[in-house]
């Protein structure tokens, strides 16, 4: 693999790993606070899977970079501006409905992405995708079921998820962005074309929204920047909590 392509793959893998890690951390914040015990367990189970994906992806990113950074170094020793996750996943937890909407919008994208990444010409990425896709297919069923139940539920639950959908929709555009480096990866058959994901994602989302009696928001102004390290203030607070221990006690081991 050429140096340029390797650098592009590092950037790509880092974005995907960071997105999984940050969303996994957000879900873990529900531990002990979900509206019912079963959901407490479900959200933290999904969090575990996502952190598992992040571990595989960040380990691989570290190998591609070749500067000796492992998964922990990448997760715990980078500040906000070095994180490359989507802005969608760093949005703070509001109510349960908001968490479900955020999760569903992400899950629907993750399923479409990993299904295509299984065919990557990069064996490691294809292996990670084949492992992850089985789990995210389960996640999207869970978040989709809840979205239908809340959307097609009571007046209050409908209003809450409709509100969350409006708030979060402007963060969905970032999932389909593509820069020059990614263009090279697409051309090399290593990653799927993000633009091609959009139609499949839209179809998946619209089918569930219809069942949930929710209107699909119009694609207006889309927030962007997370993929380049330009984040909302929320990510700093998340990292402060997530990175406290390794920053207070560098190189500590169990």
């Amino acid at each position: 693999m050429s140096t340029d392509l390797k650098e592009a793959l590092f950037a790509y893998t880092l974005r995907l790993g960071d997105t999984s890690l940050v969303l996994g951390h957000r879900l873990s914040e529900w531990c002990g606070h979900a509206p019912e015990l079963e959901e407490d367990i479900a959200l933290t189970n999904v969090a575990l899977d996502l952190v598992g994906h992040a571990r595989m992806l960040l380990t691989y990113a570290g190998e591609l970079e070749g500067k000796g950074r492992d998964e922990d170094r990448l997760a715990y020793r980078r500040d906000v501006f070095d994180y490359r996750n989507h802005l969608l996943v760093e949005q703070p937890n509001r109510d349960f409905g908001h968490t479900i909407v955020r999760q569903f919008l992400h899950d629907a994208w993750a399923v479409e992405l990993y299904e295509r990444l299984c065919a990557s010409k990069d064996d490691t990425l294809a292996g990670i995708a084949a492992k992850a896709v089985k789990e995210v297919r389960y996640h999207v069923r869970h978040s989709g079921d809840w979205l239908v139940r809340l959307g097609d539920g009571t007046e209050i639950s409908h209003a809450k998820v409709a509100d969350a959908l409006g708030r979060l929709w402007p963060y969905t555009g970032e999932m389909f962005e593509r820069d020059e480096a990614e263009q090279a990866l697409v051309a090399a058959g290593i990653v799927p074309d993000p633009a091609g994901l959009k139609a499949a994602w839209s179809a998946r989302v619209e089918a569930v929204l219809e069942e949930a009696t929710l209107d699909r928001p119009a694609d207006g102004w889309m927030q962007k920047g997370g993929r380049r390290g330009e984040h909302s203030e929320h990510l700093g607070y998340l990292l402060a909590e997530m990175q406290f221990l390794p920053r207070a006690y560098p190189d500590a081991t169990w």
Binding site: G24, I41, A42, V51, G52, A130, K134, Y138, D145
Partner: protein, 173 residues
């Protein structure tokens, strides 16, 4: 895949150290479902020996974030060391683990402790509509799913409408 008898183990004619390693690993129980050995669970992916008799053992996680993976690696290393075997244990992710790899004896052991074993994926997939699941205690087919996620990553929680008992179902994966 497990052999015709639904079991995992060394290839016929394998070295004595490879057979000894499989025996040692068959004694390592899954920390979260301690009726199943890691061999029953199908997560011992390969055991091989080099010319000097040094063993390489490959394990695979059930779920990406399974918190038991680290403990399982440690316990496998301990069991191999106790059997005085020189082995290096590594974790591989491809091909991804599937519940089809749970041995037939493993399925029987799950059923004995009241955990509904997973059907073979050829018969039912994760994304197919839920099929009838019989209560492992009273046998009634009048059951319902309480939650897609149970006490461990690999199980879902169901309940019986007849005898009212909740029970675990191993998710088809």
């Amino acid at each position: 895949m497990p052999d015709a008898a639904g079991c995992w183990g060394p290839e016929p004619g394998a070295d004595a150290v490879v057979k000894a390693a499989w025996d040692a690993l068959a004694g390592v129980m899954d920390p979260e479902i301690p009726v199943l050995s890691i061999v029953d669970l199908g997560i011992v992916r390969a055991v091989s020996a080099d010319e000097d008799g040094r063993l390489s053992v490959a394990l695979t996680p059930t779920y990406s974030g399974c918190p038991a993976t680290g403990v399982i690696v440690l316990e496998a290393e301990t069991a191999l060391a106790r059997a005085r075997l020189d082995a290096r244990v590594s974790v591989v992710i491809a091909p991804p683990w599937t519940t089809d790899w749970i041995s037939d004896s493993g399925r029987e052991k799950l059923a004995e402790v009241g955990i509904v074993p997973p059907p073979h994926s050829g018969k039912r997939s994760l994304t197919a509509p839920d099929e009838v699941i019989a209560c492992p205690r009273c046998g009634s087919e009048d059951t319902r799913q309480i939650s897609r996620f149970g006490s461990t990553a690999c199980k879902a929680l169901h309940a019986c409408n007849a005898c009212l008992e909740p029970f675990d179902v191993f998710k088809c994966h």
